[in-house]
């Protein structure tokens, strides 16, 4: 290679960096920047009226799991936080499972319609995205409240004798999140099922497989990438959900998102809020790594 050519390659590499500079700038400012600030804040002291005092402190991280007993000055487990973590993970997990149980038949139904009808059904799935999340959540509240649609119907058909007390419970949050995140499960599942070769069903049926065998041994393994994508898309935002638990949990049944908001608001403990945010990030990352491991593990031997 001549020196001139080498120069040219170096030049084009430089130009490449220059061309990607705007993207790098946006990424730095929008993604890395806030993360660095939060990381910094989590190691500082809380100010009296919010904000932070620029003194190094591990108090923020410590108070995630332990609180100082005001009488004895000793550290005890922060039960409230642990409860909230557990509720967040449990509800997000349940939401993911239930969204799959409802979303899979839905996606299958849509994918097996004729092309024209398919577009219509997909359109219906996306309609909720047009409405503000807050309004949709209040609508769910309206459905599940004591004199709401759900209770009225259940009473009418005689399934229950007195209204179910759903409002401000974990169940309410679970119902709300399942409703809100369901489309995020249906769409990737649809994409996967749409690519599925329906002729394989006949092949399976011909080779003595029962319907259940076909679902378990043929359909589910083949549409697995869609299941994983849908599960991530539902689980991750569920874990950080704020509006849904706020409205349907009524501030009593908090999730991590609400706890974080509390620290930056009334709690006036920004370092704790920052540390909690990073904890949420860690949980999500751990969950994603696990999903990826499951996905790849299947690929290499399956």
């Amino acid at each position: 290679m001549s020196p001139a050519e080498e120069d040219q390659i170096k030049q084009s590499a430089r130009n490449g960096w220059l061309l990607s500079a705007p993207a790098l700038f946006v990424l730095t400012v929008a993604a890395v920047g806030p993360l660095v600030i939060i990381l910094l804040y989590s190691f500082l002291e809380a100010g009296k009226h919010g904000n932070v005092v620029w003194n190094f402190s591990l108090e923020g991280w410590q108070s995630i799991l332990w609180t100082k007993d005001i009488f004895t000055d000793s550290y005890v487990w922060a039960d409230a936080h642990l409860t909230i973590f557990w509720r967040s993970v449990k509800l997000s997990f349940m939401t993911t499972i239930f969204a799959f149980l409802v979303g899979f038949p839905t996606a299958w139904f849509i994918a097996t319609r004729p092309p024209k009808a398919r577009a219509f059904w997909l359109f219906l799935i996306t309609i909720p995205f047009w409405t503000n999340l807050l309004i949709r959540t209040y609508a769910i509240n309206e459905v599940i409240r004591a004199q709401g649609l759900l209770n009225t119907i259940l009473m009418k058909i005689g399934a229950i004798s007195k209204p179910l007390e759903l409002v401000y419970t974990d169940t309410a949050i679970f119902i709300g999140m399942t409703y809100v995140y369901l489309p995020l499960m249906v769409l990737p599942l649809f994409a996967a099922i749409d690519r599925f070769d329906m002729r394989l069903l006949e092949a399976g049926y011909d080779l003595y497989a029962s319907r259940w065998d076909i679902l378990r041994r043929i359909i589910l393994p083949i549409v697995k990438p869609g299941i994983i994508a849908g599960s991530i898309l539902v689980f991750v935002p569920s874990l950080g959900a704020y509006v849904t638990p706020r409205v349907l949990g009524g501030g009593k049944q908090m999730m991590i998102g609400n706890l974080i908001e509390l620290q930056f608001g009334q709690g006036k403990n920004w370092p704790l809020g920052a540390a909690l945010s990073l904890t949420l990030l860690l949980i999500v990352t751990a969950a994603l790594l696990y999903y990826v491991k499951v996905a790849n593990g299947e690929k290499s031997h399956g």
């Binding site: 070769d197 002729r199 394989l200 006949e202 092949a203 399976g204 049926y205 011909d206 080779l207 003595y208 497989a209 029962s210 065998d213 041994r217 043929i218 393994p221 083949i222 399956g302």
Partner: protein, 354 residues
């Protein structure tokens, strides 16, 4: 010993749609497929051959009629309860499984013991010569190899009947010819009854013990390749299998007078207006001076390598095609416009129905 039929279809009707718009894909089809034979359903697309195959497989239920498997009524049995397996046109191999897993799938679903599954799978891999590919994904195989996996997968559970739905149509000519021989070998080795569906007459003629020719939802003729080629029952069969000439004639006993006024001999007696079929290779060119040769004029010559098709016009300009071996180099053969005589081989002119 009376040998039972592997498959018997009795008066099978399959209609798609309802009322006036209903289409009869199968219109009163009855056929007996013998144990251990290579039976081919041959016909143009839309003739109902695939529908009949799907009825035997159990993917469709007939509107009317009965299907028997070794004498037992299986008409309404679901596919997973029939000891019948299919090789699909698209192969429909399971993309998430390896070659060996594809082959063992049916055996696993039947709940066979592990040892037997392993043994049978290995035997099948050897049968289709894919031992080396056992742990490959099916997407890493060539078309011909995928075809063999599909065969092994369908043969592994040792079905009473193997159904093959145009399995060779996706392969190129060379591979297709090799697979034809392979299929015949597999059928002989396993002794399983094969029901093969194709629109390719050459495929049907080379592999089958017997052929069922279908058209418009009806079975037109069943017989050996030779039967069907030499004694077609009607115009459709005669024209679908091989090439032929149709001549209108007035028959009287064993003689028939063509529209050109020439008289030809018939194999069987007939009377009235008939259609005759004469295969192009059953006609010879002769000297025009020959007294009992039909006078004709060469109108066209089409060269096919080993053969040449000579198009001729009879006295009333009825067209007749004669197939000849191409003349060796230097030999000029016939030329356009040349007057020649035609001689029909004994029994060449057959009366066919419409």
């Amino acid at each position: 010993m009376t040998t039972q039929n592997a498959i018997e279809a009795r008066n099978v009707v399959k209609a798609f749609g309802q009322g006036d718009t209903a289409v009869r894909a199968l219109d009163d089809v009855s056929v007996e497929i013998r144990q251990g034979e290579f039976f081919t359903l041959l016909g143009p697309s839309g003739c109902g051959k695939t529908t009949l195959l799907r009825l035997i497989a159990g993917f469709e239920m007939p509107t009317d009629g009965v299907i028997l498997l070794e004498g037992q009524d299986i008409t309404y049995l679901p596919p997973n309860k029939r000891p019948v397996n299919t090789v699909f046109q698209s192969y429909a191999l399971f993309p998430h499984l390896t070659v060996a897993q594809n082959i063992s799938f049916g055996l696993e679903m039947l709940g066979k013991p592990r040892g037997e599954i392993k043994q049978t799978t290995e035997r099948m891999l050897a049968l289709v010569k894919l031992e080396e590919m056992a742990s490959r994904k099916t997407s890493q195989l060539s078309g011909g190899q995928q075809q063999r996996v599909a065969l092994a997968r369908a043969l592994a559970p040792q079905p009473k009947v193997l159904l093959l739905d145009e399995p060779l149509s996706a392969l190129d000519l060379k591979l297709r010819q090799a697979m034809q021989i392979e299929l015949k070998r597999l059928q002989t080795e396993t002794g399983i009854t094969f029901v093969f569906v194709t629109h390719d007459q050459e495929e049907a003629l080379t592999m089958s013990d017997r052929i069922g020719v279908m058209s418009a939802g009806k079975l037109q003729q069943v017989g050996s390749a030779k039967d069907i080629y030499t004694r077609p029952v009607n115009r459709f069969v005669a024209s679908f299998i091989g090439e032929t000439n149709f001549l209108q004639a007035q028959a009287q006993g064993n003689k028939a007078r063509l529209s050109s006024g020439d008289v030809v001999d018939l194999d069987a007696a007939a009377t009235g207006a008939v259609t005759l079929t004469i295969r192009p290779e059953q006609i010879r060119l002769a000297d025009p001076a020959d007294a009992d040769a039909l006078p004709a004029t060469v109108t066209n010559l089409v060269y096919f390598g080993t053969d040449t098709h000579v198009h001729l016009a009879l006295a009333d300009s009825t067209e007749v095609v004669v197939r000849q071996q191409s003349p060796s180099t230097g030999d000029s053969g016939v030329v356009m416009g040349q007057k020649v005589g035609l001689r029909f081989a004994p029994g060449a002119a057959q009366v066919v129905g419409d």
